[in-house]
């Protein structure tokens, strides 16, 4: 038996069509994909891996990852990572830990409800990978906490902060959206758009910055993560191609590419933008350069162009994304700087060298953002004294592309007014308004009349990075859960 046949015999052929229960009981209509395919069983996942090979390869990767960690601890590398980079990791690691966790649970859902046996197997393997990435993020946090003087804290001590601080609501809403999608949409959103187009920013550009600032563990961790991502990308590309071969799916696939392109753009601009453009002392690449290389050239001009033979077009809000690219990371850094009193990571005033680099990479930086930093340098108080309008899709403030020209677009739905930071977010809402009904009151209402001590307890971490060990919340709101403090 040929290896391919053997693989199919041990994976795809495990599935059978139930006859004792109706298919509607096995995969209820509610959970099925809206895509169609003449024969789902004919779909082949491109990156075929058996259990035996998976655990062998992954155990080897784990060994390598932990060997680098151990060396970093033993020889003091972790303690010598540039402090500014560790502040980046406080932000990045907070977002990454829970994002990977959501992907883990989300891919278990795809495995359960996807229509093609091969997608189900591949998604289950991917769920395990995402679990691995969650753990890798926790191990990294542990290393910083143990070996660096920056005051890093472990995820369990900052979950309330992640759940409640404005900066991480974009991350929450992104992955909550992803885990509640059509199973094929989840593949398009995660494997095709996020992982093929955008994770190179996370796992290649950001680690390059990490290594440039002395963080070899981060580089190694993400090199091994990226090797998992390669498998995921192959699945996403194969699913997209298979779906597009049936013209009936084109509109859906296009919509999902458009939607997830915009969601990925907004999230990464806000979270990874500062990691490349502001936090690191040594900056190998700007967010704009990385975006142009990995997203525009590799993904859109490469992969999406190739799929144009099936009618797929570039993402509908690409032009707006390119406009925002000039300003997004600067805008979000200003917002972070103005609210740094509530953050447990340091948001610094750019140095002269930083400003020089920003002007070189972003020609419009000085005209748009220069005055803000000159005022700061002159001693102006820029601490935020109002709460922002927040986008009802991405949950970042309506402050893009930059504060003076901030976009705020209304939609009235079912007697409620919703606001959006961009045409992209507005379009996403209008496709599925029921899904995106506002569930959480704007912070202006939530935090009305609350004093500073209350807010500190709500966020559960002091600005100098100490977990308070307990939390409280409005009645009937977040559960008043005890949050452990790690010692």
């Amino acid at each position: 038996m040929k290896p391919v046949e053997q693989y199919q015999r041990l994976t795809h052929s495990l599935h059978w069509d139930p006859t004792y229960v109706p298919e509607s009981a096995y995969i209820p209509e509610e959970w099925r994909t809206a895509c169609t395919m003449p024969d789902w069983k004919a779909f082949n996942d491109p990156f075929q891996i058996l259990f035996e090979d998976y655990v062998r390869i992954q155990a080897e990767k784990e060994d390598k990852f932990h060997a680098v960690r151990d060396a970093g601890a033993r020889f003091g590398h972790i303690g010598r990572v540039d402090p500014r980079w560790v502040e980046a990791m406080k932000s990045f690691n907070t977002a990454l830990t829970y994002s990977e966790y959501y992907n883990y649970r989300g891919h278990a859902r795809v495995a359960r409800f996807a229509p093609a046996p091969s997608i189900r197997i591949a998604s289950m393997v991917q769920a395990m990978d995402e679990r691995r990435h969650t753990e890798a993020a926790v191990f990294q946090a542990r290393d910083y906490a143990k070996h660096h003087k920056s005051g890093f804290i472990l995820p369990q001590d900052r979950i309330a902060f992640f759940e409640r601080h404005w900066y991480f609501q974009g991350d929450r809403s992104f992955f909550e959206d992803l885990i509640t999608t059509d199973p094929i949409e989840a593949i398009i959103g995660t494997n095709l758009v996020f992982e093929t187009a955008f994770t190179n920013l996370l796992f290649i550009a950001a680690p390059a910055a990490g290594v440039a600032n002395g963080d070899f563990g981060f580089g190694q961790a993400h090199m091994t993560i990226q090797s998992d991502e390669t498998r995921h990308m192959a699945l996403g590309q194969a699913v997209a191609r298979a779906m597009l071969q049936n013209s009936a799916n084109l509109e859906l696939i296009q919509d999902w590419v458009d939607k997830w392109f915009w969601r990925c753009h907004r999230l990464l601009l806000a979270v990874v933008g500062p990691v490349l453009d502001y936090f690191p002392k040594v900056k190998p690449t700007s967010y704009k350069e990385a975006f142009r290389r990995y997203v525009v050239e590799d993904f859109i001009q490469g992969y999406v162009s190739e799929l144009s033979q099936f009618g797929l077009k570039p993402p509908r809000h690409l032009d707006q994304a390119l406009v925002e690219l000039e300003h997004g990371s600067h805008t979000i850094w200003r917002d972070l700087y103005a609210t740094r009193g509530s953050l447990w990571f340091d948001v610094h005033q750019p140095t002269v060298e930083d400003i020089e680099w920003l002007n070189e990479k972003y020609p419009s930086f000085d005209a748009t953002h220069g005055d803000f930093w000159r005022d700061v340098a002159a001693g102006a108080d820029v601490q935020a004294d109002t709460l922002p309008m927040v986008c009802d899709i991405c949950h970042f403030p309506c402050t893009f592309p930059e504060p003076k020209t901030a976009v705020a677009l209304p939609v009235d739905f079912d007697g409620t007014r919703y606001w959006f930071c961009s045409e992209g977010c507005k379009w996403i809402f209008e496709r599925e308004p029921n899904k995106y009904r506002r569930q959480i009151a704007p912070s202006a209402l939530l935090l009305a009349d609350k004093d500073a001590a209350w807010v500190a307890q709500f966020l559960n971490i002091t600005p100098d990075g100490r977990p308070l060990g307990g939390t409280h919340a409005p009645e009937g709101y977040f559960p008043a859960m005890p949050v452990p403090v790690t010692f």
Binding site: Q156, E176, T180, D381, T462
Partner: protein
Amino acid sequence: MLIYARILGETSPGAFNLSASDATVGQLLDQVRAARAGSGRSLELMIDGAEPGRRLADLGVHDFDLVNIRASGQPGPASHSAAVAEASQIVDFEAIAVTPQAGARRLSEYEEVTQLTQWHAPFHIDGGRPSQKIWSDENSVLRSRNWDTYRSPDKLYYRTYTAQQARAERAVSTAFRFAEEAGQLSEVDPARVDQMRQLVGPLQYPDWGLCVVHQNVTRFAMSSWIAGAASFMMFDELRHAQLYGRLALAYSAHHDGFDDPRPTWMDAARFQPTRRLTEELLAVLDWGQATIVASLLVEPAITSTAQSLLMAGSVTAGDPLTQFVCQSIAEDKARHRHSATEFLKMVSDDPSFADANRGHIAGWVADWGPRAIDAARALSNRNEAAERALGDAMAASAEILEAAGINAESISQTELGASPR
């Protein structure tokens, strides 16, 4: 009344919470003026007729509306709003910090990577439809005051799980290689070959069914602790299905009739009760029910019977490979039952929901237990040793359930024989 306002061409929209539902233009502008961007400046609401005394509602400005403001003059010296002044107070963190409990200890690595990675309600997304809920109590009838109290006895996490299973797979692969190199399976007793032909290939399907069941649990479980254990069970069951498949392939290298087990699984009489049971279990979307029924009723019944049939006499018939593989599978299965037993203990001892949970579980035992036994007996084809193994497995499950206060008569009082204890 929440109004968004921005100074046109200067600031992004900010939120202004006006206490009065009939707030006036003046009240809004006072709030904007209290913020830094409007401080000391002449402000004008850019709506026709927006006199300070006019009610915003009369101008068509309602809750959640955005208004533009024109500002002239330079911002004055910082005159922060009361809210900002309050926010800038020095918080006495020592006073509000929660004192750690005495005896707090370092977390183990298992705890560090598993604890509190699942975030909490309220969620941003809740479209009202089941598929658009993130994590919800509605996905199981079982309840817990705190799902985060679960701990899996194996304390596995990805790093240790992959290391452990890579070792197990190395051992099993070595056994397959030795069997192949020695041509072991070519010499197996023909009666044994015939028995394997009927059994080993189709047995991949029940374990694949369990794999799918655990996929469901991994998605919906209400804490990272439970999902962690479920996901390793899920992946183990893929392993088991593939091991049965590899055994069938190893036999097919020397004997006919091992290539396609599907017709036997779909049509052979001895498998139909097991297939029905598995399919009915696949249709259980209640993750709590699926955990209990799969790991304490269905899996023990089917595995005990199947493994008895596969292992009994295998060595003497010239097939030590099957014995070795089954033992490796059995180690995983025992781990799964321990994990499920801890789950059972947690929900049946819950300080708030124990009685209700026990009631639900007792119902599942009464419903699924006899059917699991019937399916396993059909699979055993009246093989006495297999029925004894089934009896042992059901007695063990009954003991676990009864220790949790669950009536398990339906599986403890059967006609099955059991090994002397």
